[in-house]
Symmetry: C2
Subunit: 259 residues, 2 copies
């Protein structure tokens, strides 16, 4: 089984080393195509307007001056011979839950693999205090190989990508695995921008998030992680909101409106 | 009604001028917060690792060195007094259909408005030959105000964003309005990367798309645009693939697997 690894924290990230150890349990044909530097919150960004540089760091190891989506797209060029049988993206430093999955470079790397017809899994190690530094990658490492094997054996639809999150606990304190739905955060009240002034007197802004109110209802990814369970969420990229298609058809449709 | 305009083609784009004319039909309280330069394919990218510069170009007009998502987030700081009642993002030069909506900066700007609790609409003027240059913005201009009024009157759920696409035809040849679902393209076979060598002898890559096989089944956004109809697609960002949640619960869940 040929496995392609990517991430969004960059080729030198600790979480990628953890992912390489996970992949080594599953196969000895493992390739790495990862960004040079941190690409957090790059979502599905794709580099179209500038050329992309690639550096070969080893026989099966490349660094790309681009996004995780770029990495997976370029892997088709960079990986010798057969295309990968599995794309693993991560292990991200910090969880990718709720609507953050739409901004996550880690999830985007897996979505790109799925778009190219390859079974793809995003892995994230959650971190309750993001500033404290140490993510407990040993938790992802302890459980990921077995979960990935179970998933590959069961299979999943080709339009679906798997989003795995591991709780911020040592392996012995992980209580369960749960197949979850994407949760909801109150982004509206969690937004934070701050204006500062530089040494030349010009303004600039930083953006960030406050602690956000969470809808951690039972079955949600947020709830599973908060309560020490491993969260497994199948995602797809058909964003159609079908109930609203039905509702809007009552008021729109047919001949174009008068101008 | 206070309207915030943004886009992903940049503050000087022709499509933004078209959007300003559309907004002027609806309100005289219109604000523009748009990127300095083209942000196509930036998806939901958010600028977290570098400071963001803002330039005030007019009383109600700002250019942001950042992504469409940055623009809408910063608008909360930049727009005096009450927050907007409506976010309009576009008019994009080129369609945003099928899974391209997950990469589109135009749709991302609207998603960010929705995330902040504001009814939000993305507008795109399709363009059959992207290299030919001229998008027929007069088509978006002719029909958008009436469609937006109908949508605002009917309302839609707060977790939903509206994706409007106008066909590449003059207004008189637009045959209908259709409420659609997001279509599917065959991305796997449409990917294209090309390696070139620069004048110093170093390699670089470009990425792009070939013409892609399309599933333009009836009811899909792709089909509506191809056949000259205006496409109205309600989107949301809950990516959960519910049938697979159900299936995976048969094989995963309960106590964590043995290590």
């Amino acid at each position: 089984m040929r496995i392609l690894l990517t991430n969004d924290d960059g080729v030198h990230a600790e979480g990628l080393a953890a992912l390489e150890r996970i992949a080594a349990v599953l196969s000895d044909d493992v390739w790495v195509v990862a960004p040079f530097s941190e690409q957090s919150a790059q979502g599905r960004a794709l580099t179209l307007t500038t050329p992309i540089r690639v550096r070969r760091l080893g026989e099966r190891r490349f660094a790309v001056l681009g996004t995780p989506t770029d990495c997976v797209m370029l892997a088709a060029e960079l990986v010798d011979g057969a295309k990968p049988d599995l794309v693993l993206s991560g292990v991200n430093r910090g969880q990718n839950l709720a609507e953050d999955v739409t901004m996550s470079g880690t999830v985007a790397g897996a979505i790109q693999g799925m778009a190219m017809g390859i079974p793809s899994i995003a892995l994230s190690q959650s971190l309750e205090d993001f500033h404290s530094g140490a993510a407990q990658y040993e938790t992802a490492e302890a459980f990921a190989p077995s979960i990935i094997r179970t998933l590959l054996k069961a299979g999943w639809p080709r339009e679906v990508v798997i989003n795995l999150n591991f709780p911020d606990r040592p392996p012995a304190q992980v209580v369960a695995v749960e197949v979850t739905s994407q949760g909801v955060r109150d982004v509206q009240h969690g937004l934070r921008t701050e204006r500062r002034t530089d040494l030349r007197g010009d303004d600039y802004y930083w953006m960030g998030f406050l602690d956000r109110a969470e809808d951690a209802s039972p079955g949600a990814d947020l709830r599973a992680i908060r309560e020490g369970r491993i969260s497994v969420t199948p995602l797809h990229v058909d964003l159609t909101h079908r109930p609203t298609v039905h509702e809007l058809r009552k008021v729109l449709g047919g001949a174009p409106p008068k101008r």
